[in-house]
Structures are given as C-alpha cells and as structure tokens.
C-alpha cells in the first residue's frame, strides 16, 4: 500500500478495458460534434443537444 509500485494496476489488467475508450469517444462525438454525418438523423441530434453544446463550450454553428 505504501509504495508506489504496489499500487499500480498492471497494464495487462488495463488493456482489455481500453476497448471501451472508442465507444466513449463516439458517444462524446455524437453529443458534442456530430452534424448528421455519423448519426444519420439529419440535424436532429445536433438540435436536441444544441443548448448543451453551446454551454459546454464546443464550437457550434
């Protein structure tokens, strides 16, 4: 517990979970940046998340 090395999580434990990162980034992209190209909902997602995008500080039209 007291040494740094004893507390680190071995990379072999970590790697499988990193597969979640692309999915999480895709979710972030859909919320913040998609303009219909990926979601195929036209501008619907964009307009639904519109106020959140502006207030989270992401560039918007």
């Amino acid at each position: 517990m007291s040494t740094l090395s004893a507390r680190h999580i071995p990379l072999s434990h970590l790697v499988p979970w990193l597969l979640a990162v692309p999915a999480l980034l895709l979710l972030g992209y859909l919320v913040l940046m998609d303009n219909g190209a990926v979601s195929q909902t036209g501008g619907y997602l964009h307009e639904l998340m519109h106020d959140g995008r502006h207030l989270l500080g992401v560039p918007c039209h």
Binding site: I9, L14, L25, G52, H54, G57
Partner: protein, 266 residues
C-alpha cells in the same frame, strides 16, 4: 479493480453531468434565450435587405433555394432554432447533453485514472482524483477556451463549423501534450519543490502560448452584438464546465476515500 473504477467513473460522471446541467439550465438558458432573440431579430431585419446580395454571391445555389432543398434548406434549418426541435425540447435536451457528456468523460477519466494510479501523481486515490480532475479541467477546458472561447447562438458562421471544430480539437491536443511535457519535466528536475514547480508550470505554459500564437484566430462576432451578453455567456459556459469538473473530481475522490475505508477489500 479496473471494472470498479470504470463503473464509478461512468455513474459519477453522469451525476456530475446532471449537476452541471442544473447550473447550465438556471444560469445559462436565459443567455441563450437572449442570444436567440437577437438572432431572430437580426434575421427578420435582414430578410428584405440582405437576401438579394446573398443570393448574388452564392449564384449557383439560387436554383436549389427555390426547390427548398440542398444547402439552402439546410441553412435555414440551422438558423431558425425553433423549427426542427422546439425550444422546450432543447432545454430538456440540455440535461441529456450534459448527462451523456458526463458519462463519456467519466468513463475515459476512470480508465486514465486506472493507468496513472501508482505511476504518476499523489499516492492517495482521493488526492489523485482531485489532482487529475483539476489538471484535466486546465488542459482540456481552459486551454481551448482561452484560444477559442465559447460562443452563444447568433455568433459564428455556419460555413466554418468544421474548421472551428478541428482547431478546437487541436487546442485540446495542445493542452494534453503540454500536460505530458509538464509532468515529464517535473519528474526529471531535481532540487526540491522550488525548482520543480516553476519548471513544470513553465513546461506547460510555453507550448500553450506558442500554439496559441501559431494557430489562426476566429473572430465571428457580428457587428452590434452586445459585449456584455457575450462576456456573460462565455463565463457561464466556463462555469458549466467548472461545476462539472469540480463536482466530478470531488465525487470521484470521495468515493475512492470511502472504498479505502471500507473493511472489505475494494
């Protein structure tokens, strides 16, 4: 262990996102309403006068304009905010947006935390959570904000959205890279905290300043847009992110602390 951290990050991220949503709804929505009112007033005013020159400059588009399709139709959709999704739904969508944002950010944060734990930063999980959240806020939010600050509706040219998004992402990359340089510097400098901290701060600030000077600026604020409203909106937007990161870092650290105190192994 990683699974525990990931689940914790996702749930607490969602919760912090909803907390930030409450702040954004109460403080930010009135600013958005003001900006949209100005946008609609400007659009109504320009409909007679500016319609002619615009169709003249986009000569090839005048055909599609009459058929109500293509670029012409899409453009009018983005300008009139109430058309596709009502303002009431957009205000509910605000909570969806901040909640899902929190979920995504919380998950990525938890995995980064799992990788950093025991390798970089404070030894206590709670202190590492707060330090990592504070660093992430500085690198991913404040750095891009200083170069490309948030804009309310009615500010920003729809034509440049892709360029602006790429520049914004580039600035996030600069923030993360500068953090990595600063951490590496702090670890390699000997001579106690009085040498280490200034070196780390300098190693963070210099790349950020250089990148800010090199990357092109964006100035798309229309003439006559009230400076006070712009300032208030920008501060509110930064505040929304501050509320998110402060509550997320505190919650994540608090839960780490709780897990450490629990008698059963975490």
């Amino acid at each position: 262990m990683v699974r525990t951290l990931l689940v914790r990050g996702l749930l607490l991220g969602l919760l912090a996102g909803l907390v930030a949503g409450v702040f954004a709804f109460t403080v930010g929505e009135p600013r958005i309403d003001d900006a949209i009112a100005l946008e609609n007033a400007a659009a109504a005013h320009e409909h007679g006068a500016a319609a002619e020159p615009e169709s003249a400059t986009h000569g090839h588009e005048s055909g599609t304009h009459e058929h109500e399709s293509g670029t012409g139709g899409k453009e009018s959709g983005t300008h009139e905010h109430g058309e596709e999704v009502s303002r009431g739904t957009q205000k509910a969508g605000l909570f969806l947006a901040t909640g899902l944002y929190g979920l995504a950010v919380g998950g990525v944060f938890a995995l980064a935390f799992a990788g950093l734990r025991g390798r970089v930063g404070p030894r206590s999980d709670a202190a590492l959570a707060l330090a990592a959240a504070g660093t992430a806020f500085a690198a991913v939010i404040v750095v891009p904000f200083l170069k490309y600050p948030a804009n309310p509706p009615a500010v920003g040219d729809p034509e440049t959205i892709n360029t602006r998004t790429l520049l914004y992402l580039a600035m996030i990359g600069v923030g993360l890279l500068s953090t990595a340089i600063a951490v590496t510097t702090a670890r390699s400098v000997r001579g106690g905290p009085w040498a280490r901290w200034p070196a780390a701060v300098l190693a963070f600030v210099v790349p950020v300043v250089v990148a800010s000077l090199l990357l092109p600026g964006v100035d798309e604020v229309p003439d006559g847009f009230p400076a006070t409203l712009l300032w208030q909106f920008r501060i509110t937007s930064l505040g929304t992110q501050l509320v998110f990161w402060a509550s997320f870092g505190t919650l994540f650290g608090w839960f780490c602390d709780r897990a450490a105190r629990a008698p059963a192994p975490a």
